[in-house]
Amino acid sequence: MAKLSLRNLNKTFAPQVVPLKDLSLEVEDGEFLTLLGPSGCGKSTTLRLIAGLEQPTQGEIWIGDRDVTQQPPGDRNIAMVFQSYALYPHMSVYDNMASGLRLKRMPATEIHHRIDEVSQFLGLDGLMQRKPGQLSGGQRQRVALARALVRRPDVFLLDEPLSNLDALLREQVRAELKQIFADQPTPIVYVTHDQTEAMTLSTRVAVLNEGLLQQLDSPKRIYTRPANRFVASFIGSPQMNLLSLPCQGEYALLGRYKVPLPQPIRLPEVVLGIRPEHLRLARPGETLALALQGQVMLVENLGMSDLLSIQIENTPYWLRALLSPDQSWADRQISLMLPSESLHWFDPQTGDRLF
């Protein structure tokens, strides 16, 4: 249908308030792009710019071959699902869904047909004459989705649509969202600060921080090859271990241990990243060259695994490791393996990934 492209978007409210510095990206048909980042990173601003609710200070927004930068929201043929759902409280569910179509002067039979189709699909059949105030949170969320779907827009925008649901319902609706939008032949832009949503739903994730794009990649690569220190620490829970280590030719020095670098570098220091879930116990008989001796200082039970905080022998460094909860770890002396394929190396100055 239509590709969405953002070209050098910038939004400046005041010299000190620049929620979006410079963003360029393209979203293809049928692609599910998630804008992910901490609060204040510019993700919601980006969405509002695409919707036309704010005007960019610089840059262009294109939908297909239309430059919509100057167009009002209603002419862009987009649909947006709001965090608060923003259903019109004085209209029935049916009128909520129909209002956008009526404004486009669509014939009543066509409106009826579309609403029928979508409401059956979403299981809203019996609720059409109710007011939003008479619906549960989950139902309101569905109506908000349905209102977007009946529009058959060129672009779908979703602004944290799950954050008002309770935890159990959220998981269920997340799975439904994935199914619903898998069939939509249009670009979908989804904003969230929840990395689980980003990972499970998206085909691509754009990680934003302080108004700048940090990485634009598939969820898998965001996790396995974070482009910089920020992405590495933002994605993954529990957080990745990041240690600033002195460098010596081909090795980084972790106390008395020498961790081999993939290539020799000329930096005095380097940042080593390793995810807690990739640390494992050294098996008996394994070469102990890369096994770190450490003292378990703290055990946090996460249910399916234990999160250990370990101080590496004779060093000030701490590592956090996820290990199976089948034994008691408290106060034990253990030896940990650093699998070389799961190590991430970052430049301590720029934060960029080295290899």
Binding site: A51, A86, L87, Y88, Q134
Partner: protein, 298 residues
């Protein structure tokens, strides 16, 4: 509080529940008495007027006081309508009050919306200005207004009342409506824009229905203020047929110079208040009703 000492826990449970019931009962009694006192205090003057209006003239003047009428009479009510065009006065009042209320809402609501939603330069100064107008002693406006009325030749013209009433009630309207708009979720307006509503359609079809309870509430307040206003109405309107209710009531006179027609005055007061009571009762549900429920996560 979670741990009971042995002595406390050994006390029999029935005596404790008895005492609790007693406390609850006392609380209810106290609450009821307090409500009764407040209601009595507020309504006593009105009750007195109502009772006076149905007493015979002899009972009204009797000493010692006759509190409850021994004989009910509609004489005073008939009298005020017979001797004076009282119905006409009510119409005048209604015309002036409703027109000024409508004007007030029509001007004040858009102003309130702009103050609530736009990032205007000098917004706080504007609001302070609006607030100061409400603090301004009303009587000081009076002489200036009199000059203006003379200058524009508006004496004995309804506009001489409608315009000042509107102006006096505007600050209240703006402040009340602004705080209402501020608590209305902004997402609704954004959603309407994405749906393709233009500004006018959005205001008319989305915001207005949601604003109705607030409009009714402020409207009633403005209406009451205009309906009860006395000094402007007394001064700017001198033609008998154009007088409003408060002026007409004040100018009721007896058949003789020294007779004060208490009965007729009371009846006129009741008749003059009745429309307001009816109005408030009619719209009561609208006022209380929270129409925004369900707009966002409830």
């Amino acid at each position: 509080m979670t741990q009971l000492s042995p002595r406390q826990s050994s006390r029999s449970p029935s005596s404790r529940s008895n005492r609790r019931a007693q406390v609850v009962w006392m609380q209810r009694l106290g609450f009821g008495l307090a409500i009764g006192a407040i209601v009595g205090f507020s309504l006593a003057p009105i009750l007195w007027q109502v009772l006076t209006s149905v007493k015979t003239t002899a009972d009204i003047a009797a000493i010692p006081n006759v509190y409850l009428p021994r004989q009910f009479t509609a004489e005073h009510y008939l009298e005020i309508f017979r001797r004076q065009p009282f119905f006409n006065y009510m119409l005048n009042s209604f015309l002036v009050a409703s027109l000024s209320t409508l004007l007030c809402l029509a001007i004040g609501t858009p102003a309130a919306y702009a103050l609530a939603r736009l990032r205007l330069p000098g917004e706080s100064a504007l609001l302070a200005g609006v607030l100061i107008v409400t603090l301004f002693p009303y009587i000081l406006l009076f002489l200036g207004l009199l000059e203006l009325v003379r200058m524009f030749g508006l004496a004995n013209h309804y506009l001489a009342l409608i315009v000042p009433y509107t102006a006096i009630n505007l600050p209240l309207t703006i402040l009340v409506m602004r705080s209402f708009f501020q608590q209305l979720p902004r997402d609704l307006e954004d959603s309407a824009k994405v749906d393709g509503y233009n500004t006018l359609q959005m205001l008319w079809q989305i915001l207005l229905p949601l604003t109705l309870p607030a409009l009714v509430t402020t409207g009633i307040l403005a209406f009451i203020a205009a309906w009860n206003e006395f000094i402007f109405a007394l001064t700017f309107i001198t033609r008998e047929s154009m007088k409003t209710i408060p002026v007409a009531v004040a100018q009721l006179s007896g058949t003789a110079v020294f007779e004060i027609p208490y009965g007729a005055l009371a009846a006129a007061t009741v008749v003059g208040t009745l429309p307001l009571v009816v109005l408030v009762l009619l719209f009561q549900r609208r006022i209380v009703q929270g129409l925004t429920a369900g707009a966002v996560k409830g």
